[in-house]
């Protein structure tokens, strides 16, 4: 490789590098700088010193701790549940010979449905209005239980709706990925296993799971990252004043610190964003380490 060729190579890379530099690298560095500038004034664009006060403030802010707790609960509940449910549905889909295509379409519909329409459906299901209790509450009533205010009621009810919504929204994509992963497993492996008298559960754990492990792992990683970034769904369900509703998330907190009613603190927002980054990075690294042992790449 001579230097002339090198120059040419860089030239080809230039468009992508400029784009990435301006929209990814520069903002990242900027966020880092904001997060260590203490007492930053948005109007005058001045700051009093450099240090870790912003981090300490954010970590002691009860709103942030609430957001942290909400996000973690959301992640811990929705990622395993949605992946597990998607796997079960995909396994069933893979088996349902005749109506496979029909069911695949039905399960994929939510993915292409407008978010507003989905929000409306959830409202009909859960929201208590002057005119209606909401479909779920009607159901609870017929079962002899009391109505629950899912949108403005107790914390667990709101968390339930949020988790339910999140799982439901991410399910189609996961099903799509997993059905194609399952379909791409060579049928001969199952035939061999059958001739060898392998029981179904063992076929599933020793053959199916390792074979689809790359897809599964991909879904778990993106699932974690996606759930940590939750914000718009929460707004769709509980409105913009999330701190008051006690349903804020980390991304929500970042947004509020920047543009919310009590906003205008880019330093705090940046610190919170970097804390989120650190959390996601840690979890992804742990995931990668675990996967090294358990994920089989062909």
């Amino acid at each position: 490789m001579n230097s002339k060729n090198n120059l040419k190579g860089w030239l080809y890379l230039l468009p992508a590098l400029i784009f990435l530099g301006v929209f990814m690298v520069y903002p990242l560095i900027d966020v880092l700088i904001y997060s260590i500038e203490e007492g930053y004034n948005f109007a005058s664009q001045t700051y009093s010193g450099v240090g870790i006060y912003n981090y300490s403030y954010v970590l002691h802010d009860p709103y942030f701790l609430q957001a942290l707790k909400n996000t973690f609960i959301l992640v811990i509940i929705t990622v395993p549940l949605s992946t597990g449910i998607a796997l079960l549905i995909s396994l069933a889909l893979n088996r349902s010979g005749r109506f496979k295509e029909l069911f695949q379409t039905i399960f994929f519909l939510p993915y292409v449905t407008n978010t507003l329409a989905v929000g409306l459906v959830f409202m009909i299901l859960f929201k208590k209005t002057a005119y209606s209790e909401g479909l779920i509450n009607l159901l609870l009533n017929t079962l002899g239980m009391k109505s629950v205010d899912f949108i403005e009621g107790p914390y667990w009810a709101k968390m339930f709706v949020l988790c339910f919504y999140t799982i439901w929204v991410v399910l189609p994509f996961k099903i799509l990925i997993l059905t194609s992963a399952l379909a791409s497993v060579n049928q001969d492996y199952y035939n061999v296993a059958k001739v060898d008298g392998t029981r179904k559960w063992r076929i599933f754990t020793r053959i199916t799971l390792p074979m689809i492990s790359p897809s599964l792992f991909y879904l778990i990683i993106t699932g974690f990252i996606g759930a940590f970034k939750a914000y718009s769904d929460v707004v769709a369900l509980f409105g913009t004043d999330l701190n008051a509703a006690g349903m804020n998330t980390i991304v929500g907190y970042v947004y509020d610190m920047l543009y919310g009613n009590s906003g205008g603190y880019p330093s705090f927002a940046s610190a919170a964003a970097l804390i989120l980054f650190a959390i996601v990075l840690t979890i992804t690294v742990i995931n990668l380490l675990v996967s090294k042992k358990n994920v089989y790449y062909n």
Partner: protein, 361 residues
Amino acid sequence: MKIILKHLTKIFLSRHKKNEYVTAVDDFDFEIPDGKLIGLLGPSGCGKSTTLNLICGLEEPTEGRIFFDDVDVTDLAPEDRGVGMVFQNYALYPHLSVRANISFPLENLRGKDKLSKEEIEKRAFEVAKLVQIEQLMDRKPNELSGGQQQRVAIARALVKTPGVLLLDEPLSNLDARLRLQTREQIRRIQKETGVTTIFVTHDQEEAMSISDLIVVMKEGKLMQMGVPQSVYNEPVNLFVAKFLGTPAINVFDGYVKDKKVYIGDDYIMDKDIEDQDVYVAIRPEGFIPKKNGRFHCRFDRIEIMGRDTSIVCHHDKCISDEDIRTIVDSDIKIYHDDNMIAFDLKENKTHIFSKKDEKVL
């Protein structure tokens, strides 16, 4: 273990057209003797693999029964039949080591058959030694050559000491040299274990070289079954004659008149049958070049390939190929002028088939 097929039939719903049926296996009725190596031979799509799947239980027959010795296994699940199967692509579990692949069937055993870890390890090692891969136990399948993978697959199929070993196109994924080696290996392993083995192939040379018996199939029907040499020497119909042998048999339009067989004007041999049009099929080695021979062909060229000398010539009545291929003794002096060459024919290499049903006469 002896395998008996009784009126075995498998009909599939056509994949391409609705309400159309394909008969993959048509009324198979034969017996495979204990401890033999059987080659199931036929062109692709003739139902060989389906037959194998029926025997191992992955497919259910539409009609007919399958017996292993005296036991009717038709309704038994594959794992209850005591068969080992090697798939065409080997189907080794790619995420498991060779050791784990071979032990896999043993680890499936439950209840009174359950084996201890040491016993599993011991048996896996024994069978690995049998197929000569014991030094590769810790490798993953993708770190092995095609031939080694093949042997791991055979080891996995044999580890439960099945009564029947089934091999689906065992050599088709190997290159020419490995193929030769591996087929000797298969022969050796079969002899050492004495397991009744059926292997499917579309390569007649492969089948002829290692089988005790070959079964020739065409379009789901059994054409002929027998010792390779006898099937080659005494084909019951034109298909079998054409399918076995390289170079392929030469087929001519001929006729019988006054109990004599002719091709064109040339008298070929005597045949005690009624006057009729026939196919005359002559093996390449059935030609003896001779100055005053009775069968005249247009001479083209002589090809010498190592130990074989081949005379290529033409004849208007030849319908199998444009070229007539002959293989002759290289010590024989070949007389020919620019255009013509004459042969005498070996009668035991010349077969007469009916034009009506292509059966031997």
